[in-house]
């Protein structure tokens, strides 16, 4: 699945690295062991069948793991439907955010998910986050600094066999 040089995963990985995210291409089994190795204080994932429902306050949390809906190769972006408030808060205040994305849900560019966008904002509410790399600012003397208000690090697990 890796290495042919120009698969969509490679294109995504390149773009994601350009926005200082880390990318790991793993299979489902490896994902399970990643989960064991880390001490995630918040998990929301269909693959892992775990949907934590606790609120995280202003103190934040070291590591959170969240499964996203899509990933966009052109910009290295992950796309997360997060009208669920707990998921939204966790992804805002985690120091290190880990996300899971199925290889099959990668798309080339943002125009490829306009139907997804419309469907998920059709009803009562809707909150979709495009996340590309960690939170950053260049507001002091234009020096790029990560970890402005949100996560200081972003790691993306691409699950190659799903």
């Amino acid at each position: 699945m890796t290495s042919k040089g120009n698969s969509i995963i490679d294109r995504f990985t390149q773009s994601a690295i350009a926005v200082t995210a880390a990318v790991k291409v793993i299979n489902k089994e490896q994902l399970l062991s990643e989960k064991e190795e880390h001490n995630f204080k918040f998990i929301s994932s269909e693959i892992l069948q775990q949907f934590d429902q606790h609120y995280i306050g202003k103190e934040g949390v070291d590591e959170a793991l969240v499964e996203v809906n899509h990933a966009i190769a052109e910009t290295g972006t992950v796309v997360l439907e997060c009208s669920n408030e707990q998921v939204r808060t966790a992804t805002c205040v985690a120091e290190h955010l880990y996300v899971i994305v199925k290889a099959s849900s990668l798309v080339e560019c943002s125009h490829d998910i306009v139907d997804f966008m419309a469907e998920n904002t059709q009803n009562q509410g809707g909150y979709i986050a495009f996340i590309s790399g960690p939170s950053r600012t260049a507001d002091i003397e234009r020096v790029l600094t990560v970890g402005a208000h949100g996560p200081r690090e972003l790691t993306i697990f691409i699950v190659s066999d799903l």
């Binding site: 966008m117 419309a118 509410g125 809707g126 909150y127 495009f130 002091i140």
Partner: protein
Amino acid sequence: MSIHDKIRTKIEDDVLYKNLKNFASSYKQSKANVYKGHDFETLRKRVYDLKDRDINKVMEQFHRFKDNAEKSGATVYQARTGEDACNYIAEVMKKHNSKYMVKSKSMTSEEIQLNHRLEAKGLSPIETDLGEWILQIGDEHPSHMVMPAIHKTRQQVAKLFSDYTGKTVDPDDIKGMVEIARQYLRDDYFKAGVGMTGANIAVAETGTIGLVTNEGNARLSSTVPPVHIVLVGYEKLCDNFSEAMDIVKVLPKSATGQNITSYVTWIKGQNPSHKNETGVKETHYVFVDNGRLAFFEHPEFKEALKCIRCGSCANICPAYEMVGGHVYGDRYIGSIGLILTALYQGDADAQDILKMCIGCRACSFNCPSGIDLQKMISNLKMVVGQKYGINSVKKQVFNKVIAKPDRMKSLMGLGSTFQFPMTKTNKFNKEKIIASVPMLSGEKDFRHFPALSKKSFTKMFNNQIRPLANPKKKVFFYPGCAVEYMYPEIGLAMARLLHKHGVQVDIPSRSVCCGLPAIAAGDPENARTMIHKNLDEMKSPADYDAFLVVCPTCGGAIKHEFLDFTREDPDRYKLSKQIGEKLMPMGQFLEQLNLKFRVKGGRSVTYHTPCHNTRSMDYSAEDLLKNVLGEQFKPLTDSNVCCGFGGTYSLDFAPISNGILNKKIEHIEDTQADIVITDCPGCVMQINGGLMYKGVEKKVMHLSSFIENELEVVPS
């Protein structure tokens, strides 16, 4: 403080100078990189088209948005004025007993002076964007749309933070300062009863807003507090997500040279909120009119409502780069700032700052929404010029001299005779210059001026250039004032070259100014007179293979402004159109002749691209020179950035003109080239004048003289 005093203070600010200069050059680079592989023209055409609409369309989009938002339980409020919007927001805060409101960056809130108005009511809005927070603590206004605190140094920020927190702050630890903001503001998100954001995009299809940010503060402001207020201008509406993605594609690229920002957040209606007793967030959309809706009906001003607030038109503006945003007032800045100030605050507020535009057109070519900003600025200048009057000396000069070709001719003749005692020869290049210009001291004295030519171009041409017996081609050449009175050699060199190769050159029987100086000064009446006189002097385009210029500024005027000023006059309009179609810079015509050149000497050469070459005439001589010169050609950094001339601009705004010129000279010196070529007599005057003044020994030549003196034609 007068505008000139404000400019002076800013130009003397070394920190600002350094920050803006570094930013401008790194921005240009990252923007060029990030657009690589994309066709900028196609992308911006899409944004232009989707924003091209009338009031009916916008209101239709608004109602669709409103229906969708209301169906989801949100409230949509239409604020007629800024004050109205502020009052509404204050009421929401009071209803929820919330003294504090965390807000993410919103230009519209600056426009309506929200913070100021809320504070007057005893409420406390808290800016959460780092740059905005710094300014709020320091009680200042943003000086840039995207980087509000670009004028501040790390030391200044450290001082502010240390006063605010009561702790010592290390000015060299920028990460540490960001950390301070993170900690303090984290508390604020959780203490505020209301969160406010702007909206970069409002999608009518489902009633969803889009926010483009880097820091993550907009996500927190819209997530943590139990109430969310969205402040948005009607111009942000679009039909559907496909259009929204068209905007997202260009906005970060043009704003900061990023492919994408860290966050693009899409929010629809009322989402769960455990801090709200109902369990769902209370959401208010405040749509602000504040004058914009009226402009949707204006054929020209509606263009300004296509702006997506990327800030690019400030980033590439040479005048902005010299003075920064504060001179533009306290709201919108950069090229679009000149326009929006006139539209939203009134032309009285805008009349002075509009004049800061040198007319280089860089903004028009950079805008990701395809707005022809320079043209709007130029038209607004004429509006304020007529309403408030233009400088009375200028008016007299246009009225009594420049618009009257014969008077201009005799006056210039007198000038060239009487200047003699005041001219001298510049040491190293032996060029005749004016020794000292009376009344031109202090900041206006930063370059040498060329002496007026003893004989006018027209006279010399008629003496020297004989009609050809059997010309292969015929061209009509428009010399323009600079060639006519100061640099006849530029025109003569071209004429000799063309005659040698069988091209007959004809010229107007009398020389009339192209009218652009009057337009730039905001004097449409005299501009019209000059343009009409000019057209009356032109020969029939049917008799010529091409119309040529050696001054792209005149060329641009003929191609574009002549049409604008002949709209009510079908014959002259038709003539302008026909001439415009055949008009080109002399270099382009030479390329079409397919002459093969080779260089005679071994001197190295660099090239400054005149603003109006690429931007008004769609031509640059760079390829021609590169091909002929090979290794001897030394590319100039920012070759197509303005040299700061702009005609009388360089006297009216001498400190800005001088500053821009200094940067040009710095880049020229970096090339270590022996010869500087450009193909506009105005640029020659500015660059050569500056180099001579500074004693930098480089030869500045117009392309025509360079070709005549330094190149030879390879026999085919």
